[in-house]
Amino acid sequence: MATSDIVIKFVLIVIIFAISLVIAMYSTYAERKIAAFFQDRIGPNRAGPFGILQPLADGAKMFLKEEIIPTNASAFLFIAGPCLAIMTACIGSAVIPWGQKLTIGTHVIDLQVTDINVGILYIFGVVSLGVYGVMIGGWASNNKYSLLGAIRAASQNISYEISMGLSIIALLLVTGTLSLREIAEQQRGFWSHGWFTWNVFKQPLGFLLFIVCAFAETNRTPFDLPECETELVGGYHTEYSSMKMGFYLFAEYINMFVSGAVMATLYFGGYNFPFMHHLGLSENWVTILGVIALFTKIFLFIFFFMWVRWTVPRFRYDQLMDLGWKALIPLAIANIVITGIVITFFK
C-alpha cells in the first residue's frame, strides 16, 4: 500500500468519524424539533436562529457538569461502560460503502474504509458488542434500576439479534455475498430485467423483520425498555452524569445513524438512485450524487425512527419477548424457507 493510499484512507476515516459525530449531535436537535412538530409545538428556538446552536449548548453543558462516580460503584467498569458504548457505535460505519469510486487525477478513491468480504458479519459482531457497554455500565453502577435496565438490554438484544440474523440469511440467499460493496453494486440503478433491483422489493418481509429488530437493537421506542423512564428512572444510565451520560446518549444516536446506513445499503440500494446511468453525467458526478442519495436515505430512516418514537407507545416486557420469540423468529424462518423455494424453482 502506497503512502498516498494510507493518507487517503486516514482522511476518509477522519471524515466519516466527523460526519457520524456531527450527525449524532444534530440528531438530538432533530429529535427535539421533530418531537415538537409532532406535538404541535415549536421546539428549541433560543440558541441561534431556529435553535440551530442548541446541540453545542447541550454539549458544553454536558462537559461542564459535575462528574459523579457513586461510592459503591466499580469505578473502572463505570468508566469503561460508556467508552465501550460509544466505541462500538463508532466502528460500525467502517464497512459501509458510502459511494462508488471517485477519480481525482490518477488517484482512484474508494469511498469505503475497508471492503472486507464478510462485511455483514462484521456489522453483526459490532452490534452484539454494543450491548456490552450498556450491560457493563448498568452492572457497575451498583443500583437496582440500572441493573434491571442492563438485564433488559441484554435479553432484548440477544433475542432480537436472532431474528435479525435470520432475516439477513434470507437476504444472503438472494445476494449470494456477504460483502456490503457487492450487495450495493448488485442493486445498481433501480430497474432491470423486469423487476426492481433494490432488495426491499425482493425481500419485503425480510426488510420488515430487519427494521423491527433494528429498532430493538438501537433501544428506540417502542423497544426502549432498558432506559424506560416511567419504570426504571433512567434504566442503565440512572447513575451517570456529565459527559459519561452524554456518551450513552451519543452512542444511541450514532447507532441510529449506522443502522440507517446499513438498512439503506442492504435493502434500499445504498448509494444507487433511479436513472443514475441515464443522466449522461461523468462518473465522478454520479458518485457524488450517489453519496447524497445514500445520506438522503439515511436521514429518511432517522426521521422514521423518530416518527415511530412519537407514535407507538412502549411495549410491556412480556409483550416484547412474545414478539421477539413467538412472532419474529418463526416469520424469519418462514421467510428463509419461502426464499429458498423461490430461488430453487424459479432461477
Binding site: 412538530f37 415549536i42 416518527w307
Partner: protein, 165 residues
C-alpha cells in the same frame, strides 16, 4: 330486573382477525395521525416576543393613577393594604407640604408605596377597596427577576407616567 337508566350498552368483543393481530394496520393509522400533526400549525405562543390576547377584565401589574391634572390620586388611607388577603401592600403616609398641590391631590399622600409581587395574588380586592380610584390592576404580566428583592415594586414602577409625557 330493568336497569334504572336504560343506558346500559352491550359491548361486543370480537376476537381480532389476522391483520389486526399483527398490529401493522393500526401502527400505520397511528403514523398517519402523527404525520397530520407534523404539518399542523404549532399552538405555541413564543411568550416574550408575542403575547396572548387578554380578556378585558384581565388583572396584571398594578398602576397608581393620576387625576386629570396629573396629581397622584392616592391618599394613603391604607384600605388597599387592609383589604389585601396576601398582605402584599405596605405604605408610609406623609403630609402634603405647601407648594406640592400640583403633585398630590389630597392633603395626605403615600411617600412610600410598595407591593411585593411575590405575595400578590392578583385578586383585585385593592382596586375594589380604593375609595379614590387610585389603584388599578391594568398593567401587563409582571416580569420575572433573579432576586427576591427585585420583586418589591416601589412607586417608581407603580405610579403612572405624568400627563405631559
Amino acid at each position: 330486573m330493568e336497569s334504572l337508566s336504560n343506558k346500559r350498552k352491550l359491548i361486543e368483543s370480537k376476537p381480532l382477525n389476522f391483520w389486526e393481530r399483527t398490529y401493522l394496520p393500526s401502527i400505520m393509522q397511528g403514523l398517519a395521525i402523527t404525520m397530520r400533526h407534523f404539518f399542523r400549525k404549532p399552538v405555541t405562543i413564543s411568550y416574550p416576543e408575542e403575547q396572548r390576547e387578554f380578556s378585558e377584565n384581565f388583572r396584571g401589574m398594578h398602576s397608581l393613577k393620576r387625576d386629570e391634572d396629573g396629581r397622584e390620586r392616592c391618599t394613603a388611607c391604607g384600605l388597599c393594604a387592609l383589604s389585601c388577603p396576601a398582605e402584599a401592600i405596605t405604605m408610609i403616609a406623609a403630609e402634603r407640604q405647601k407648594g406640592e398641590e400640583n403633585l398630590y391631590r389630597e392633603e395626605k399622600y403615600a411617600a412610600v408605596y410598595e407591593i411585593n409581587m411575590l405575595r400578590c395574588i392578583f385578586c383585585g380586592l385593592c382596586e375594589e377597596a380604593c375609595p379614590k380610584e387610585a389603584i388599578y390592576l391594568d398593567g401587563p404580566i409582571v416580569q420575572s427577576e433573579f432576586l427576591r428583592k427585585d420583586f418589591i415594586y416601589g412607586k417608581d414602577k407603580l405610579v403612572e407616567a405624568p400627563l405631559n409625557e
